[in-house]
């Protein structure tokens, strides 16, 4: 049987079932995916490195396993790509910087090893803001990815290539990193589910980034795929000092539960202070109504110290980034882009007292969140107040925490947080809602997102709305009536 015309938008779960049923081979799927990437990606720039030979060899091996009747994993033959700060043996890890342009990883990051053990094929490395901490520019090693929903806009970072590639059907799912919102923000702007798990739930061994506040997490087109990717990646790893040994939930089973009695807390004061875009505000309020209609109880909550948590997160981020890059910034300054160099140097001007004070804030805010998360199970906010990266970078917005105003506090505390789609703006850009929960309660976030996604018929509705809007726009332009 030939690949379906829209094979690239099938879910991970459905594609894996079809491969196991041998409706088509892993090699056929890989050829189809590579062809699609070659056709679509020159305009999107989501990939930094495309592993053509390696992917085809892995697909041949995957077909041979099926032919031999071997036991295969839940991701057998599925093309997955990852942010280019995650090491995959034999592939470059550039972090989109000329400093590492020719550096090739000798060993898989733990998350890559686990994906491969589950049968996934790593098709390549995806674009990002240089070292995940800069404003992207056309002069970057790889230019910034465009948003497939509206290519007039760049994709929000820093896991921007992951957002663009998954949304455009250039891989079936991705893993990004998040030290302030870098999984959740691109997921929101690309209409994806993006999960930053509890700190240490997924090993960071073989992944570049701040050790204190950064986590690795999945990005996918639906909740079921997100749960499956999470399940494959979690588990203790002695190579990551922060890796958790706690028992692991069955994330996919939890998706069937309803929302009756679930208490969702809305920090209205924080939302009002953030200057949320009016379309985003309306979509957020509609999402609350939708969740209420599903049986959830919406409560107003008044969390303390969220501004301090944001500030502490950025102090820690800048101090740790400068610490990591201090030597290279002095020795090879010209190997960095101007923006990355500027961003990474900021931390040089902080004191050790500033950094240690930021870490003390973490304990206090965690206590406060623990108290708040006894009143409600989940805190809910817009993922970002803004729809585009440019709006988030306006000086007044930047001072309030920019696009990360709602996301960064959960990096500092290490609590799990997820972005789920809640609609599409008039400019064709998806919008997202953030759900943040208790430590290790990823299953509850996924369950809530699953019910909501089902309620709004996200996959179907988003596509139809998007096409209709585009058609309306072209009719307006043709008739000049608008």
């Amino acid at each position: 049987m030939a690949l379906p015309e829209d094979f690239h938008f099938l879910s991970v779960v459905e594609m894996a079932e079809r491969i196991r049923a041998r409706e088509f081979s892993c090699v056929e799927l890989m050829h189809g995916m590579l062809q699609r990437i070659r056709t679509v990606d020159p305009d999107l720039h989501s990939y930094i490195f495309l592993a053509v030979e390696e992917s085809l060899r892995a697909a041949e091996k995957a077909d041979a396993m099926l032919a031999a009747g071997e036991q295969v994993g839940p991701l057998h033959g599925i093309p997955i790509a990852v942010k280019d700060v995650i090491n995959a043996a034999g592939m470059p890890t550039t972090a989109n910087s000329r400093l590492l342009q020719h550096w090739v990883a000798k060993e898989d990051a733990t998350v890559i090893a686990r994906l491969k053990a589950a049968g996934a094929i790593i098709t390549g490395k995806l674009n990002l803001n240089e070292f995940a901490w800069s404003i992207p520019a056309e002069s970057d090693l790889t230019p910034p990815p465009r948003n497939p929903w509206n290519p007039a806009h760049a994709t929000i970072g820093s896991s921007s290539g992951s957002g663009a590639a998954v949304a455009a059907g250039l891989c079936f799912g991705s893993f990004g990193t998040d030290a302030g919102g870098s999984i959740r923000l691109p997921s929101a702007s690309c209409g994806l589910i993006g999960l930053k798990p509890t700190h240490g739930r997924i090993s960071r061994y073989g992944v570049m980034g701040c050790r204190t506040i950064m986590d690795v997490g999945p990005m996918a087109r639906n909740v079921v795929d997100t749960a499956l990717l999470l399940q494959v990646a979690v588990g203790h790893d002695a190579k990551d000092p922060d890796s958790l040994g706690d028992s692991i939930s069955d994330y996919s089973s939890a998706l069937a539960d309803g929302l009756r009695g679930l208490r969702l807390g809305v920090p209205w004061k924080e939302i009002e202070a953030a200057g949320v875009n009016p379309e985003m505000q309306a979509a957020f309020e509609a999402a609350l109504q939708g969740l209420e209609s599903l049986g959830a109880e919406i409560r107003t909550v008044k969390p303390k110290w969220l501004a301090e948590a944001r500030a502490a997160n950025f102090v820690a981020l800048n101090a740790e980034e400068y610490s990591a890059h201090e030597h290279s910034l002095c020795k090879h300054p010209d190997a960095y882009g101007l923006s990355a160099r500027t961003y990474l140097l900021q931390g040089a001007f902080l004191s050790s007292a500033d950094y240690l004070r930021a870490l003390r804030v973490r304990a206090i805010v965690s206590d406060e969140l623990d108290r708040l998360l006894e009143e409600v199970e989940i805190l809910i906010t817009p993922t970002s107040p803004f729809l585009t990266p440019d709006a988030a970078r306006e000086p007044s917005a930047h001072r309030r925490g920019g696009g990360a105003v709602f996301t960064a506090p959960f990096n500092l505390t290490g609590y799990p947080a997820l972005s789920m789609p809640c609609g599409v703006s008039s400019t064709g850009l998806p919008m997202g809602v953030q759900l943040a929960g208790r430590r290790l309660e990823e299953a509850r976030l996924l369950q809530t997102a699953a019910r909501f996604q089902e309620h709004i018929g996200w996959n179907r509705r988003a596509a139809i709305d998007f096409v209709r809007r585009r058609q309306d726009q072209s009719v307006c332009q043709e008739t000049s009536h608008c």
Binding site: A311, T342, L345, A348, R399
Partner: protein, 66 residues
């Protein structure tokens, strides 16, 4: 949270030299607003009421002798 005074370009240049950083004028100009915002954040943290919630250590929570 209160707002402390901003980092001036001259102070930034002096601090960079003290730290052994050889920064161009272009880079210093780009750094100045970012570092100002970052130090404002760090100073706001220092002056925040949050420390009253940190109990058990009078030096940390109350600043020692009142």
């Amino acid at each position: 949270m209160s707002k402390p005074s901003a980092m001036t370009p001259e102070l930034l240049r002096e601090l960079a030299e003290l730290k052994g950083l050889d920064l161009s004028e272009e880079l210093l100009q780009k750094l100045q607003p970012l570092v100002t915002d970052l130090l404002v954040m760090a100073d706001c943290l220092k002056q925040s009421e949050i420390w009253k919630a940190e109990s058990g250590d009078p030096l940390l929570s109350e600043g020692g002798k009142q």
